[in-house]
């Protein structure tokens, strides 16, 4: 298959589901509005356009339903997403998602990756997509490329602790430090 056919094929995949994709993303508002988050039709057009660009950059094609609604449903209850940063955060998360599907060699399912991303976003990363991309996911991707498959049993939850290189706060460390400061 030549380069032109490849490009044509990916364009066909994108255009084939575009209208339904816009409608499905708008549909998410029914659920997300209870978290104070809604997307305007212009926001959705932007998200879909960014998705198309990201898929092209990551050399991927979406062949059925879009991942966008799934990202939205996964992250809409985040403590770190507000109306001020909703659209740009979803765009960023989408970029990170496709990038790491490639980095993890498609060994991980969409659901497992989204669960991992959300869990780390809310805890270790404190809502920082850059930290999510540059640290947690990077380390996790290395483990997967080396053959780790433990996430299959956990659906992507509670996986990062065993790979985390940073000493983090827990109750004992907190009390010890507090004692040191007060004494």
């Amino acid at each position: 298959m030549d380069k032109n056919s490849k490009g044509t094929m990916s364009e066909y995949f994108m255009e084939a589901g575009r209208k339904m994709q816009i409608s499905n993303v708008l549909e998410t508002n029914r659920y997300t509005e209870k978290f104070g988050l809604t997307l305007t039709p212009e926001d959705v057009e932007l998200l879909v356009a960014e998705q198309k660009q990201t898929l092209k950059e990551q050399k991927r094609v979406e062949f059925s339903e879009s991942i966008l609604p799934k990202i939205i449903y996964e992250f809409c209850d985040s403590d770190y997403i507000t109306m001020d940063n909703y659209t740009e955060t979803i765009i960023r998360l989408q970029e990170i998602f496709y990038h790491y599907k490639n980095e993890m060699l498609d060994e991980i399912t969409d659901t497992e990756l989204l669960h991992f991303m959300k869990e780390q976003f809310e805890t270790v990363c404190s809502g920082d997509p850059e930290y999510l991309e540059g640290t947690c996911l990077n380390i996790f991707a290395q483990a997967i490329r080396a053959g780790y498959r433990g996430y299959e049993g956990s659906d992507g939850y509670a996986e990062y602790e065993q790979f985390d290189e940073v000493q983090r706060w827990d109750r004992e460390v907190y009390l010890y430090t507090l004692y040191e400061l007060l004494s």
């Binding site: 066909y12 050399k59 991927r60 094609v61 062949f63 339903e65 991942i67 599907k101």
Partner: protein, 271 residues
């Protein structure tokens, strides 16, 4: 040439469905490379459907999905036919000590059956068919390549086993020297020996030829062009096949596939 001219819009849903099956419906996207592979898989099956019964008319309004489904069924059938052919070859298969033949058939073919992915990569042949055969199989791919290849090997074995194994080894040693490590086609060497014997009207008792016999053949071939010699050898081949295989068309076709190369060797005195 594709007689069924499906547009991209018709093929994409078929590829999308296959992609879903490939990911176990657990991913909404695949890489370009994977999508390309799955498109090739769909096209391979559609071509299989197209190539069945080239004499008959294909339904004009067949959907891509249906053409793919029927083509995939044909790929499955071809793989089963290949397995049956291999099973019927195995009991009488001989390597005559040739390592390349042994490795290709006894090691390579089982690996093909183990790893051939008829659903998601039917176009991949997977194995390298290192033992050469007298045919250009470059137009084939996937199970078709291996099927055509084994058909040739089957006829070659039928041909070789009309002669005593020790005689075959003599001929091979005379023609190829270290025939056990050779990557030449064994049937070609034996057929060349056979043709020269027939031209000399010499019984097939000894391998090799005297210098006087060689000069006799070279002198006889001198006024002929390569094409004329080829025609003569083809006639001899047909007569030989009629005598020993009662006009068996498969073995006749196999023997004739050597004629062009053997004509060149005989004319050049390379025997």
């Amino acid at each position: 040439m594709c007689r069924l001219n499906f547009e991209m819009e018709e093929l994409i849903p078929v590829v999308a469905k296959l992609a879903g099956q490939y990911t176990g419906f657990e991913s909404t996207s695949v890489t370009y490379e994977r999508a390309e592979q799955l498109m090739e898989a769909v096209l391979y099956c559609i071509r299989e459907y197209e190539n069945t019964g080239t004499e008959t008319l294909l339904p004009e309004n067949i959907l891509a999905e249906e053409a793919y489904r029927q083509g995939f069924h044909l790929v499955q059938e071809k793989a089963q036919e290949l397995r049956k052919l291999c099973n019927s070859l195995t009991p009488f298969f001989r390597t005559y000590g040739n390592i390349c033949l042994k490795d290709t058939i006894l090691k390579g073919i089982p690996e093909f059956f183990k790893w051939y992915d008829m659903k998601f990569a039917p176009m991949d042949t997977i194995i390298t068919l290192d033992y050469p055969v007298p045919a250009d199989l470059s137009a084939y791919s996937g199970v078709d390549t291996v099927y055509e290849y084994i058909k040739i090997i089957y006829q070659e074995q039928r041909f070789l086993q009309t002669m005593d194994a020790s005689y075959i080894r003599q001929v091979l040693e005379h023609s190829l020297g270290d025939y056990e490590n050779s990557v030449e086609n064994l049937g070609n060497a034996v057929f060349l020996n056979l043709m020269v014997h027939i031209m000399l009207k010499k019984p097939l008792e000894t391998a090799g030829f005297t210098e006087s016999e060689r000069q006799q053949i070279i002198k006889w071939c001198e006024p002929l062009t390569y094409d004329e010699l080829e025609i003569h050898l083809a006639e001899l081949t047909v007569k030989f096949a009629e005598t020993y295989w009662q006009r068996d068309s498969d073995i006749t076709a196999y023997l004739k596939s050597h004629v062009k190369d053997v004509a060149v060797r005989i004319k050049n005195g390379q025997f």
